[in-house]
Subunit: 376 residues, 2 copies
């Protein structure tokens, strides 16, 4: 039997598989998707190009990108039975529960892919294209509004904002959301991606795997962090109160979301980029309230705990500037990460190996079976 020292709690530092999708250099604070530095991609690329890169392993040519973009646009309409189902979900449901149900139900109406190749990529496109439609329809439904007709002409980032807010965003707004989506597209074996790969490793289908991922992303220790950051900002209210609020949390041994990362030992490069976009979008909208609170919060947390910001610190401030309600922050994370989830599932199908670790048994053995009448 394994000794206590052999238990790899949380699988921290365990290398579970080989992947060519994503490289996190935790010491140098670099993030690479399929060979390309996230800083180049965030500066020069679009979300659609990054999605292509993750699925096909190379950046698209002009015609390849046009093809992908028009396919994504055409796939935004939900199966009618799924649209009806969403209208019947309780109006007060958690949007992540809605997304999990809708992704699972999409699998009832699409072929169950379990092989790498063009059919599975079609499934990945379908999942990516429909997520903004699902969230938009549910968000409108809970406000008593009818569904919008999908807009195949908009980019993924612009369509997401359109689906949620019923307005076509400005150029700078679209670009801010586009960069946010690029930064969230993949992050190696984070818990939701790993849940997708564990599911796919049994040769279960793409929709089952992505459903598992949505369920895992829902947890506050994973996708829920950006939402909690904004909750915290609403408690802090003014920069001069940041130190006091942080202290009171530290005294109670509460975790401060948006800081630290199991892999990055320096600043998360995504935080560096999003900080800049939070400022730019704030300036464009004439509202730097959240940005200034976050700068102060960073300063206090670094001084008190030596922690660096992670991607979640600034993303909530971007969504909040659009007026998007906090319970949609984690679903927006999914709208981007679904590209990484599906790319990982495709990779799992190419190099399949059932993921099945062991547990160290810490219970008793050889208990004598006592008949029910004699038990106490």
């Amino acid at each position: 039997m394994a000794s206590s020292a052999d238990v790899q709690r949380g699988l921290q530092d365990v290398v579970a598989l080989e992947s060519r999708l994503c490289f996190i250099d935790g010491k140098l604070g670099r993030l690479i998707y399929q060979g390309y530095d996230i800083r180049d991609l965030a500066e020069r690329s679009t979300f659609e190009e990054v999605a292509y890169l993750l699925w096909y392993g190379k950046l698209p040519t002009g015609p390849e990108l046009s093809d992908l973009t028009s396919r994504l646009g055409a796939l935004r309409t939900l199966p009618p039975a799924l649209a009806e189902m969403i209208d019947r979900f309780p109006a007060d449901a958690n949007p992540m529960d809605v997304l999990r149900c809708a992704v699972s139900a999409l699998g009832l109406y699409e072929p169950a892919e379990t092989q790498p190749g063009p059919h599975a990529i079609s499934g990945a496109l379908r999942l990516t294209a429909t997520m903004p439609s699902i969230l938009g329809q549910f968000h409108r439904r809970r406000k008593g509004l009818p569904p919008l007709k999908p807009r195949p002409d908009l980019s993924h980032a612009a369509y997401l904002i359109y689906a949620l807010l019923d307005r076509v965003p400005t150029g700078p707004e679209t670009r801010a959301m586009d960069v946010d989506l690029i930064l969230h597209a993949d992050h190696e074996l984070n818990a939701s991606t790993f849940a997708a790969r564990v599911t796919a490793s049994t040769l279960s289908d793409l929709y089952s795997a992505v459903t598992s991922a949505v369920g895992a992303l829902k947890g506050p220790l994973h996708g829920g962090a950006a939402e909690r950051v904004v909750d915290l900002l609403q408690v802090i209210r003014t920069p001069d109160r940041a130190a006091e609020v942080v202290h009171s949390k530290l005294v109670r041994h509460e975790r401060i979301m948006g800081f630290g990362h199991r892999v990055y030992k320096v600043e998360d490069p995504r935080a560096t980029i999003l900080r800049e976009w939070s400022r730019r979008l704030g300036e464009a909208k004439g509202d730097l309230h959240y940005y200034e609170l976050l700068r102060k919060l960073e300063e206090v947390v670094h001084r008190e705990k030596g922690l660096y910001p992670n991607v979640d610190l600034y993303s909530g401030s971007v969504y909040a500037l659009f007026g998007i309600p906090t319970d949609l922050f984690t679903p927006i994370f999914a709208v981007s990460r679904v590209t990484g989830w599906t790319a990982h599932v495709l990779e799992e199908y190419e190099d399949l190996r059932l993921i099945r670790p062991m547990a160290k048994y810490v219970g008793t053995v050889d208990l004598p079976y006592v008949p029910i009448g004699q038990r106490t």
Copy 2:
């Protein structure tokens, strides 16, 4: 960066966590649930007692068992909105997709538990109680029949048969199914249970975790094996053709389902017990066709490959003797394993640690970003 030798493919032999739920002694061929040998439990206990054992860590007294049994019975009625949803699912849907959707949707109507304790156990009871109702309703719906009213008076095993076949089973039938459910209730960190724990490790809720597990169980490398065994028996047809069919599969390097196990190096103790029940049920029904085919198949596979049967070899023959269609075999596995899934999720909440391994990056780095017009 990790060397190739450091990659723990499939996490084989990696000890991911400590658990007091289940101990598999792969060398001696023993299986223990919370201290009790599976042979004692299969011989002397009921599925309800085993469910109690997994959730509460001890076998119930008489009053505790009565309480659990009546709670399970009372929880069999589906939320009306969920029952309506199931009636709208496509009649030709895969029942595992239906179960995944229904479990996910149940989470819309129940509190989202993320703490160990009585509320989460209530969620575990709700999930366990409703699974036969979900499957029964869908199976009847695809035959054009209206839902049955739940029967709170029946045991879990009897209710499962009732829900699927619209008849109250005989005593020996009920006991055969009861033993089958006991044997499938838990099995340490199999892929579906691990998917549930990965999901729960983000502090996501019980319904999300069980939804992940259903998705993982769907894969033919996991839950789908019993179904494939019966498919193979239909190819073999008569015992004298077993050797020929096995040879032709081995020549094509095809896997023969129902044999071998990553953990057991000897015969899976569940196979030993189920072999006996397959014979007993076959004798009671005057139909030993599958039993005799399986005995012959065992003999051939052991001679040719040195492999021992696992739990999946005989379970399909038990379900087939009831006249249950093969696409319901994996869902029946879920009807039992949901007790183990939920017990593991409760344990995860008690000793929470985000499950997040690493990947070895085998892609390129530092690719120069080429503008789209210059790509080939």
